[in-house]
Symmetry: C2
Subunit: 418 residues, 2 copies
């Protein structure tokens, strides 16, 4: 079989399985999730062995320490994956919910009922835990899934999918509910793009390059995730104590994730009061600042920011700093360089706060809080499939509900249209 | 300027105007809508004159009678367009609605607020009334729009856009809120597909060929609309009086629209009782039936249905008929040939009705009512931009709300993430 034939055969099986899974009851799905969690723990030695193969190859391929860390599984991480599945099992089932129903003057009763999307394709990095997380979320929301994990995690993903399918089989659900693409050939991704007769949505997770490729080439509808060039804007009316705490947290608490801030904007009126202390705090934690000319007059020790710095998603202990004339310049700067992910203002001014919430077009707009909260768990949505930075269908953290659609159901007693 | 340069310049202007329009108040938008309605009536002679140019060319180009009818504007139709705008003005403004807001344990107040999508591209047939309808819906929902109407309606669309822009100017809104592509060159459509830095969504209305082209080629996110191969399934437990009424209405009331039924499925158990009378009713109204072998044993006068008939969207006074063994065969037939638009069962059996609502994956699933109700107005949503047959973002008739997205707003008092 060619790669294309094999993928079509998988996609076709996923589509068939989707019809069965859509009708599975909540108890049935939860039973499968919990069973898979049990099996992950039972078979942890097999998992660690396969993961060690990936780690060995990764070290030979000179993967960075950060990448190796994401790739590695430990007993604790396997426990974490199992726990994640149990948490998904404990969440409300979105399927079957009727968010709206009304009656028309002619007596027709019309409602919207929540149903699965169908078949979901996910392309992701070499992070084996994503395999289990995503499989769990798709299963609970009644969707079948075709997984394309980073090739560096191929052995880990194979054993994990194997275990998931065992759990499905034992619970009486089709094993094709969760399938891994069985080749690391990059062609497979290009073929996925063309399977719009089978896949209902494709979700790319990972770097900007991958996401752009999917958006440009896919015939399957896409949900874009993740690129975050997020700003903290310290307004002239800010409480500077809050501003320091929020700015530091937005950058330092976990710089390699999409909701961390990359850029600090400071109103000129308070720059001389705010920046020296802020720079000192960052210097103590070895965060590199790159400032505009005016910033460097106040904090001369830091590097110069060039144009590219304002567009950069560093994902590192680096932050650009720019002094702005006023609120309007800050808003324009964010409009120009932002990626519509998460944007924060620090201000005590009521009118300025309201304006910012209105003026900024992003998935999450904050007043007086760290951008790091943009996360399904932190928002109270439960688990998360990714953070959508597009406007169609889902925007911001995607929980179970974002993996569903609705259909209209119309109940009549013989109505016809005049 | 090349076509590409001109389109980019229009798209850029639309994007800039979108920022202003997003902040326009409801009163401002309603004022513009009503003003445009006034102007359409005042300038009806100009409109009719431009339309006559299109009609003249259309006749020279041998357009069918149906196409010429859709192209033609009359004083009554102009009044209808003006009335449509006033109705959109009278509808609730979706923008600014906060459908959900909650408080987290850490005190963060998190809400979703409804905002415009931004810039919408619409590609549609040679129906000048769509120009006004769509412009009105986009305006009310705070979106700017780039219109690409069928080339046969070019003169009509130009004068209508001209009048709309006059109304915008007079109400103090940017005239770039509504722009018509100023060429009938087909290249313009291909260029639209690439403008994902400017357009937030592209909505193709029209035939299956256009829709497939857009889905296959567009980098801009697409909402698919309209192709409807809809079924009426007369179950063995149907009230046959209702069944006849519903089947006739679903086909005959307006065959050229997407929610009309193309195919009739009949349980074998009641076929001999139901079909002769049903065929007689259709014959009286000159509806052509094309039946399966078993159907033709009962109603010998009708033509034979071949495989293509079951896939056909006739949009005409033609209907295919198939006798099915049982409920399960009906569901499988719909799964195989349906386009996930509107599907109806006629039955008095409670359990069968519930199963059908569950089993059928379509934008609108009916029990004991005509598929012809799939329409924004009939559902009580107000006006309609089209009927989505995809699962992402919007499914079924799209009203004002479906032209919006949400963003998260998060209000804190210094919260940081641990």
């Amino acid at each position: 079989m060619s790669i294309r034939e094999e993928l079509i055969s998988q996609a076709d099986a996923a589509k068939k399985a989707a019809r069965k899974l859509a009708k599975a009851g909540t108890n049935e799905k939860n039973k499968a999730l919990n069973l898979i969690a049990d099996k992950l723990l039972e078979r942890k030695d097999e998992i660690l062995k396969s993961n060690e193969k990936d780690m060995h190859q990764g070290r030979e391929n000179d993967l960075s320490r950060a990448l190796l860390d994401r790739l590695q599984l430990t007993e604790a991480r396997i426990k974490g994956m199992a726990q994640g599945l149990r948490e998904v099992a404990s969440q409300d089932d979105p399927i079957g919910e009727v968010p709206e129903m009304w009656k028309r003057p002619n007596g027709l009763q019309i409602g919207k009922i929540r149903v699965p999307l169908g078949v979901i394709g996910i392309i992701y990095e070499a992070r084996p835990n994503v395999t289990v997380d995503v499989a769990g979320l798709c299963l609970k929301s009644g969707n079948t899934v075709i997984l394309r994990g980073g090739s560096n995690a191929f052995n880990s993903n194979q054993i994990l999918t194997n275990i998931i399918q065992d759990g499905l089989r034992e619970s009486g659900l089709p094993i094709e509910c969760v399938q891994l693409i069985s080749t690391t050939d990059r062609k497979a991704v290009d073929i996925l793009f063309t399977l719009n007769d089978y896949l209902d949505v494709l979700i790319p997770r990972g770097g900007a390059g991958l996401i752009q490729k999917v958006v440009n080439e896919s015939k399957v509808p896409v949900i874009e995730t993740g690129v975050g060039n997020c700003h903290v804007y310290v307004n002239k009316d800010a409480d500077l104590t809050k501003a320091k705490k929020i700015t530091f947290n937005a950058k330092y608490s976990r710089p390699a994730v999409c909701n961390s801030a990359e850029s600090l904007l400071v109103d000129q009126e308070i720059a001389e009061e705010f920046l020296p202390e802020m720079a000192r705090i960052f210097a103590e934690s070895n965060v590199e600042l790159r400032g505009c000319e005016r910033t460097r007059k106040i904090v001369p020790k830091i590097k110069e920011a060039v144009e590219e710095d304002y567009s950069a998603e560093y994902l590192d202990y680096i932050m650009s700093v720019k002094i702005v004339e006023d609120y309007q310049e800050a808003v324009e700067h964010i409009y120009k360089y932002g990626t519509k992910h998460s944007e924060a203002i620090v201000t005590e001014n009521y009118t300025t706060a309201r304006s910012f919430l209105d003026d900024i077009d992003a998935a999450a707009v904050y007043v007086n809080a760290s951008t790091r909260f943009t996360d399904g768990g932190e928002f109270g949505l439960g688990a998360e499939t990714g953070i959508s930075t597009q406007k169609l269908h889902a925007r911001g953290p995607m929980g179970l509900k974002e993996l569903t659609t609705t259909k209209y159901i119309i109940m009549g007693d013989g109505q016809i249209r005049e």
